[in-house]
Amino acid sequence: MSFLNNVITGVSLGSIYAIIALGYTMVYGIAKMLNFAHGDVIMVGAFMCFFAMGSFGLPPLVGVLLAVVVCTVLGMVIERLAYKPLRQAPSLAVLITAIGVSYLLQNGAQILWGAATKTFTPIISPTNAAGEPNALQLFGGQLSISYVALLSIVVCLVVMVSLTLFTGRTKLGKAMRACSEDKGAAQLMGINVDSTISMTFAIGSALAAVAGVLMCSAYPILSPTTGSLPGIRAFTAAVFGGIGSIPGAFLGGILLGIIETFAKAYISTDLSDAVVFAVLIIVLLVKPAGLLGKYVPEKV
């Protein structure tokens, strides 16, 4: 039973990674940049929900909505102010700017909200009024799946299906794919490339907000650096699945969650990150473009 428990823990953790990785991969696909500030947007989202619920006593749904709205705007503002002026700049300059934005968000949060770790109020409390766990009990209580874990998995599936439908079926989604392939040709079709990129940041950041709230509900501690490690792990997941690929981010996220949980359960808690990255290195040695990525040779 503990094996099954670990699988479910892994999948729910992986679902959160996948939601974050989807933001990374979409932005990479269209803007061809690694937005290292993405992880810190998660933290901002979690703080918004924390204040809405903790300080103002608003219902969880309002907290989530506030987080989504604030992060969507934040993502678009970051793109407009920090990355758009660098559209023609070498990619190294953009990368360094992204790292700068990441620190700016962390330090900004520290000034505004303090460095001390806060206890997050989960959107679904771990226990109900009667003191019983808020969890799905299976096999006579031997297998217990918390509602937060279930919610993470469901949200991840919904996000995945909606994004697939959006990019495959809608005019805007197709325009996004056209931009990610060839911005010049997309312009000739009359597609406004700048607003398409801005929209991609908006979607990615909204997803980061959702991921932030889910993550802090499962692991209820919050500080200005909360987003940084999950951000890096989700980036790893995106690379693992094939950066730029939406199903790849999904697969990479879930696998990463499972590997991390198994490493913690069966090898060593301290070594879990090392195991995760060792697996990543092996996968990249065998498949340099990631599990579902396409290897595109540089054209000369």
Binding site: K174, R177, A178, G190, I191
Partner: protein, 233 residues
Amino acid sequence: MLKVENINVYYGAIHAIKGVSFEVNDGEIVTLIGANGAGKSTTLQTISGLLHSPTGSITFQGENIASVPAPKLVSKGLAQVPEGRRIFLNMTVEENLEMGAYTRPSSEVEPHLARVYDLFPRMKERRRQVAGTLSGGEQQMLAMGRALMSDPKLIMLDEPSMGLAPILVEQIFDIIKELHKVGTTILLVEQNAQMALSVADRGYVLETGKIVSSGTGSELLNDESVKKAYLGG
């Protein structure tokens, strides 16, 4: 329909286009011919707003479009088939065509699709296929079909024969003649001067950024200096 007057384009210190002027009238096929590096594609990119000229003017249907950003031009009726086709290789044939109609209301997509499929039956057969799997000739057809999806008044073709086998070049030029017959105005940029001049109403010869001669297609085909430089004697 299109009037280009005294445009100059610089790539850094290089003066690529030196005071080029020409015009395209309603319903005409006009060709710009010239060797590699003469400035043909640069001229087209300046018209389509991807490059800018500090001097002169570009007038399309009476409106100065020199400062109109590239994505806005399509909705004004100016479509371009870029050099090297630049179709979206990871998207299906039909998705590529839909992108061509991006600026049109969705109710117009179906009739335009039907028209393009009529013109290129091959595209209809392959409409669910990913564009990257098409042959070079089919990709050129797709690029032309995609441009036609916006129902343009003027279509600019940049080197449509590039990299194609002679039989396919003939097919592409047959399609150009077909488009001309139904009243589409065409600006054709070509290195294949023989083919281009044989279908064109008028032509301009571009040499190192300047127009050195102009005339009707047949005049230029029989012009001694053009023959010598571009038609192999």
